[in-house]
């Protein structure tokens, strides 16, 4: 190894990022999309109508549960808010869980298409669709690689400030390097925050030896010790009617929690027993921690009863890392900043991968097998992932409502689209593969709003009438993405061949 700290760091930067670059790109893109998880889910469930909820709607849900699930062990009511119109009620009886969606305007049950919605991106970005097969461990390794790459990336700049203010736009290779450096510096704090918090959330899963040594049940037992919980309810106590008028509880909540619409969801445990209790979870836009504040009431009298014990400091720290990672505290402006930073970080990873290849192709006369592999993976890892996401959205609109396991078929479409992109990238020359996939991507983007209009034009008209920003913004973002794809495709077509006949941009 060359005996120079800076060169060592450049080496480390190059190979720690190349190793898992494509995986990191997928994780960052899907993770960034999950900032808008409720909004994406809302778009993917067009059956949900916009409306306003009140105490009467909570009472209506309680009555509905009383009529349909009197003997259940637990009820739960998810209230709609300004980010999602999903008014969901759930009841558990033993191990069986039933979920229904209520229409916010008249309180009748509606059938919503079976889809994972934005939750797919959320789970995908840390399990990689491999939960139970070590997916979360792979994601952890990727987070560590990103941390190392970001840290060592700082040292690749000899003139930090001059590099920051340099942007040469005429030559594609120079442009990529300059913007890589620029974006790298801008997203540095964001990447550090995201990767560190990602590791901290699963700290005891990645380094489990402490819990294994001190707790017979390992992590599970350890979590039981540090996560505060309520005493178990006696399932055989006397029967009693639960309260049906929520206003009694709501008055007390309004005194304790200032602000409007503070309830995220309501849980009723043992609703038919006299020891039953109501647990209210507060929305998380007030604190950095992702542990919601909770209040506990008796389900018969509506009077407050002993709540959750105070959380220990270490557990709070973990919750705060969790909260930082999820950014549920962010209002819409801050969330957009996070989203843009996340997209910039994805672009950082993507451009880095392309630069790696360009630098090597400039120097060598004959392409190495490794170069060809990186070329294909660049197309499939970057463009293929974006195509797969678009295919997932398309599948949401095209798949018939009544097929079995519709939600998992949508995910399969995502995975197969990705595979097709990989095969295409292997079969076609790289430059052609890029342009063709970009064109397909833009076609998928532009057709999405058109399909929506064709399937049910009331969606767009309704969204404009009700000023439904979620729906409108989704379409605008999709159209913008399509525009960027077209632009890039045309740009590539004009520029790629350098005089020596070599393809410059991958």
């Amino acid at each position: 190894m060359k005996p120079d700290f800076r060169k060592c760091m450049i080496w480390l930067h190059t190979y720690s990022s190349l190793l898992l670059g494509w995986l990191l790109f997928a994780i960052f893109v899907s993770g960034t999309l999950s900032y808008f998880n409720p909004e994406i889910s809302q778009w993917m469930k067009p059956e949900l109508k916009k409306g306003i909820h009140s105490t009467a709607s909570v009472n209506h849900a309680l009555n509905h549960l009383q009529n349909h699930a009197q003997s259940a062990d637990r009820w739960r009511i998810y209230l709609p808010n300004d980010r999602t119109q999903h008014w969901k009620i759930q009841w558990n009886k033993g191990r069986v869980r039933t979920t229904q969606t209520l229409n916010i305007q008249d309180g009748a049950t509606v059938t919503v298409r079976d889809t994972k919605g934005g939750d797919f991106f959320r789970t995908f970005h840390y399990t990689l669709q491999l939960r139970g097969y070590g997916g979360r461990y792979i994601a952890g390794v990727a987070a560590m690689c990103m941390l190392i790459a970001v840290f060592s990336g700082i040292f690749t700049h000899r003139r930090f400030f001059r590099d920051f203010f340099t942007l040469r736009i005429n030559k594609i290779g120079k442009f990529l390097t300059d913007s890589h450096a620029l974006v790298g510096i801008i997203t540095l704090p964001f990447c550090l925050m995201i990767c560190t918090s990602a590791l901290m959330i699963y700290a005891t899963m990645y380094i489990p030896w402490g819990t294994e040594h001190y707790y017979a049940g390992g992590q599970r037992e350890h979590n039981k010790h540090i996560i505060p919980s309520l005493p178990k309810l006696d399932k055989k106590s006397a029967l009693a009617e639960p309260l049906t008028d929520f206003s009694l509880v709501e008055q007390q909540i309004n005194q304790l929690w200032l602000g409007s619409d503070q309830i995220e969801y309501i849980t009723v445990e043992q609703p038919s027993r006299e020891n039953g209790r109501i647990i209210i979870n507060r929305v998380k836009d007030q604190s950095l921690s992702n542990q919601a504040e909770r209040l506990v009431f008796s389900s018969v009298t509506g009077q407050p009863i002993a709540g959750y014990p105070e959380q220990s400091t270490a557990a709070k720290v973990r919750r705060i890392f969790y909260g930082l990672h999820e950014a549920k505290f962010a209002d819409s402006a801050l969330r957009w900043i996070f989203f843009i930073l996340g997209m910039a970080a994805s672009a950082l990873i993507g451009s880095g991968l392309i630069i790696w290849l360009n630098k090597r192709l400039e120097k060598v006369k004959k392409q190495h097998l490794g170069h060809t592999i990186v070329e294909c993976l660049n197309v499939a890892g970057i463009m293929g992932l974006l195509l797969a996401i678009l295919a997932y959205f398309q599948a949401n609109r095209w798949l018939p409502q009544d097929i079995e396991n519709r939600a998992s078929v949508e995910v399969e479409v995502f995975l197969y689209a990705w595979l097709v992109s990989l095969i295409h990238s292997i079969l076609r020359p790289t430059n052609k593969a890029w342009i063709e996939q970009l064109m397909v991507g833009s076609l998928l983007c532009f057709s999405l709003p058109i399909i929506d209009l064709y399937q049910d034009h009331q969606r767009l008209i309704g969204a404009i009438e009700q000023a439904n920003l979620t729906y409108l913004m989704f379409n605008i973002m999709i159209l913008m993405a399509g525009f960027i794809f077209v632009k890039t495709a045309f740009w590539l077509r004009g520029r790629t061949i350098v005089p020596s006949g070599k393809v410059l941009c991958s």
Binding site: M1, F151, T204, I207, P208, W209, G210, T211, A314, R318
Partner: protein, 97 residues
Amino acid sequence: MIESLKYKAEILSRCVAAIFGGYVFSSILSLALIPILVNTSGLTLGDSVLAAAMLSYVSYFVVIVISFCRFNHWKIWAVLLFLTSALLSVHRVFSLS
């Protein structure tokens, strides 16, 4: 030829030190920290286990970066082994029952 083989072997050695050496080091550190935290900071056992696991990441990160610094790679291995065994003995001696 031999020069390049030597170079490759050194990189392999550094990678192993960083990835596996670093992981073993921080695992042992997370174990050794637990009795220290319980006895000095007044945290409960559950909190110390969590805090130790979180803190041990810092050491993992530092080991990875140092493994690729210009120090002689044998020296890195020596220091890593020494520190790991020292921490292991802390864990063995002070381990809570």
